[in-house]
Symmetry: C2
DNA sequence: CGGGTGATGACAGAGACTGTCATCGCTATG
DNA sequence: CATAGCGATGACAGTCTCTGTCATCACCCG
């Protein structure tokens, strides 16, 4: 418990996120009630739901990945092939994510332990894929190439991320992304 | 209402699925309570939860896709490239699915209207992808090629399926799958 | 016909989420 | 400095999902 702070203590949302992360780590997602999260943050259950649409969303509320990916994609020149534009965006974003490795690990451990959280993660990734496809279309890429390239990019990122989080030795995430992409190219080439 | 049937009317599970599909179509997913579904099927709410883990699962309980995909993959010769083995399995399964077009449309309309249902659909597809990757590994495909090929295959299937469901003119689903796969190959080749 | 077994009903209860209204702290404005 | 407005919070009641528990019912087996 942080202590009872009156109303208007700053950063209510951040306090809720921190409290949730701690409690989920300690007791697990199911064994933690929203009321408990709110109380640890010095707030009420009702206020929790004003900041987050549901109990799961507190783990997914701040995700700078989408912005980074889309920005990087829009920035690159329109001349390169879609898959290469995606490769660049993925590596830039991977580099960003790399700075928060411990937070990412902790969060992922919670998510991996609960199916409901995996569902939420998957739909966030789908939204990411959709945003990527939009950005590609803005670059003049037609359908279904845009959607396919976006889906392929997300798949590559997912697989690289899993390796990065699980390996105990610090491997470079952008490198893992590049490796996974090369593997995908090899596989789809029919080998 | 089907009428009040005593206990032991046959196919309780099927009646629940049918009642749910009808009610979700009529009123929407949120506006339908589990109690209403159960009553239309001549059962109680408690019994609903004995057949389905949660309210969403009633739409996903019977999915023969996974079995078909894995069976088809295991059946093919080990000599072909992973991506081609997947292509065959996808086309065989697409052909199966094609027979239930109207049911698929109705179901998909409900799913598309509710985020929570899309979450469940995505995790079912992830499970499918995982099963595909397992089957590939049984064929001797190494990681991460197996996972990447499986993810790519699911992406191809997803995009072909969307087109098949939305187009008013009856296009051949296996053909759409093949087209999407060819597109993916072109995209990952760097064009 | 009695016992066993599995499916169902009845009931209570926890917890997620929503609607509504009161209350609080800050700020602009006179 | 008073006060009115505004956004964030609290308080409270209520619905619905989902679970645990025990009784009851239909069927099958000997």
């Amino acid at each position: 418990m942080i202590g009872d702070m009156g109303r208007w203590e700053p950063n209510a949302r951040g306090r809720l996120e921190q409290a949730a992360l701690d409690l989920f780590s300690e007791r697990g997602f199911d064994a933690t009630t929203v009321k408990e999260i709110a109380e640890r943050a010095g707030l009420t259950e009702r206020t929790f739901f004003r900041h987050f649409a549901d109990k799961r969303e507190v783990l997914f509320g701040s995700s700078p990945l989408q912005e980074s990916l889309v920005t990087a994609l829009d920035a690159g020149p329109d001349t390169v092939a879609p898959i290469d534009a995606i490769a660049v965006a993925l590596r830039v974003t991977a580099d960003l994510l790399q700075e928060r490795r411990e937070l990412a690990r902790r969060r992922q451990a919670i998510i991996d332990a609960h199916t409901e959280l995996q569902e939420r993660e998957l739909i966030k990734l789908a939204s990411l894929s959709s945003a990527l496809a939009d950005a590609l279309r803005r670059r003049g890429v037609a359908e279904p190439a845009a959607s396919l390239a976006a889906e392929a990019g997300i798949a590559v990122f997912k697989i690289a991320f899993v390796r990065w989080v699980n390996e105990s030795n610090r491997q470079d995430l952008p490198e893992l992304v590049q490796d996974a992409l090369d593997e995908l190219k090899a596989v789809t080439a029919g080998k």
